[in-house]
């Protein structure tokens, strides 16, 4: 599975992830604090400039945002039915700006950096006994590791259905998929415990 990180070198790439995340949070609040269309237009433009200079082709950059932008467009049109155009414009500007800055952050921060940040943020939770911070990296790795196996298993189940002339129904495919996948959990857990990985 390819991550959404764009491997390039810009000042945004080199900026500290913690700083970027903090700034995004502050920006989010600020955007919803103002209704001045001129300010929002400026931030929108700033976001656009940043995002388009992250290291992707413009085409790829826009392709990534297509689903979100479509949703925003759809919702805005819907809100235009009930709200004055000024309000709808404010909403569009806010959401698109937020989208652009968020997508910029995602494109300039590696998965590993994110995992480190979350692990750090989770250490106070570890003190209350809610989570083990180190488990976060393990969990992300586990999922990425086993997704291809599950996809392969699905293909095998489909094949078996076709060989038996059965129609492929969600129900008859999902049940074996779930059972066969979860049956491995005990073995995987035993291997993890045997390596002493979670004994902190």
């Amino acid at each position: 599975m390819q991550s959404l990180y764009v491997d390039a070198d810009s000042w945004m790439h080199r900026a500290s992830p913690r700083l970027k995340l903090g700034s995004l949070a502050v920006l989010g609040v600020a955007l919803f604090a103002t209704t001045d269309l001129r300010i929002l237009a400026v931030t929108l433009l700033a976001g656009g400039v940043l995002y388009l200079n992250v290291g992707m082709t413009w085409r790829e950059a826009l392709r990534r945002l297509q689903p979100v932008l479509l949703t925003i467009a759809f919702v805005t049109l819907f809100s235009l039915l009930f709200n004055p155009w000024h309000e709808a414009a404010v909403t569009v500007f806010r959401l698109v700006t937020l989208t652009l800055f968020a997508a910029t952050l995602t494109a300039t921060t590696t998965i590993a950096a994110f995992v480190d940040e979350i692990t750090w943020a989770a250490t106070p939770l570890e003190r209350i006994g809610l989570v083990k911070a180190a488990d976060i990296g393990l969990t992300v790795g586990l999922v990425v590791r086993f997704v291809p196996e599950i996809v392969g298993r699905y293909a095998a189940i489909r094949e078996a259905h076709e060989a038996r002339g059965l129609k492929i129904r969600l129900r008859t495919v999902l049940v074996p998929l779930v059972i066969l996948t979860l049956r491995d959990a005990d073995n995987i857990a035993a291997a993890i415990d045997a390596r002493g990985i979670r004994r902190h």
């Binding site: 959404l4 990534r64 919702v75 999922v143 059972i179």
Partner: protein, 187 residues
């Protein structure tokens, strides 16, 4: 948390991700193929229970946040949370939690097949429709600056599809309970 529980949750998160990668499948009842990912969230609840089901959903949300394109259609990254529909994503965690806990309360291995099916269906609707839409609609109203009632009515069109998914989730929950029971018992 035991290693086994962690692995079960992670594996189910992987199932939810895999479901997003697969092409839409036909349900058999409706001729329109549907994406199975949100169905995966309900299944997490009926199969693993409240705690582990919610954890599986939380893991998926986390993967989206850190920049993996795990949502159906290859969507991912922080931009997803900027969309007005982000409430429906975060709502997954609470949907799985409610579906899971209700399943633990309502469904027992000793019950008849029909009772189990009904129990799982109620749990799936309660979590996967009621709770999920509560989060989705609330955030939609907030982010898009629409009236709650307008947001509510605008979202209604999607409910029938999700009710059908609840039926499928109930059938899967029943079959998995018969074949490889993992649901904790409560109440």
């Amino acid at each position: 948390m035991s290693t086994r529980d962690l692995v079960l949750s992670a594996l189910f998160a992987a199932i939810i991700v895999a479901l997003g990668l697969l092409p839409p499948i036909s349900l058999g009842v409706i001729p329109v193929p549907i994406t199975a990912q949100s169905l995966g969230v309900m299944m997490a609840g009926v199969v693993l229970g409240g705690k582990r089901g919610a954890l599986a959903a939380l893991i998926v949300v986390l993967l989206v946040a850190i920049g993996l394109p795990v949502l159906s259609g290859g969507r991912g990254g922080l931009a997803v949370f900027a969309a007005p529909t982000a409430g429906f994503l975060i709502g997954w965690i609470f949907a799985a939690l409610v579906t899971g806990y209700m399943s633990e309360l309502l469904v027992k291995p000793e019950q008849s097949s029909i009772s189990q099916g009904i129990g799982f269906f109620i749990a799936s609707v309660a979590g996967g429709v009621v709770v999920l839409y509560a989060f989705g609609i609330a955030y939609l109203a907030l982010a898009a600056h629409i009236d709650l009632s307008k947001a509510f009515f605008g979202s209604l069109a999607f409910v029938p599809g999700d009710v059908v998914k609840a039926v499928v989730a109930a059938l899967v929950g029943r079959a998995v309970m018969a074949g490889y029971p993992l649901l904790p018992q409560r109440g």
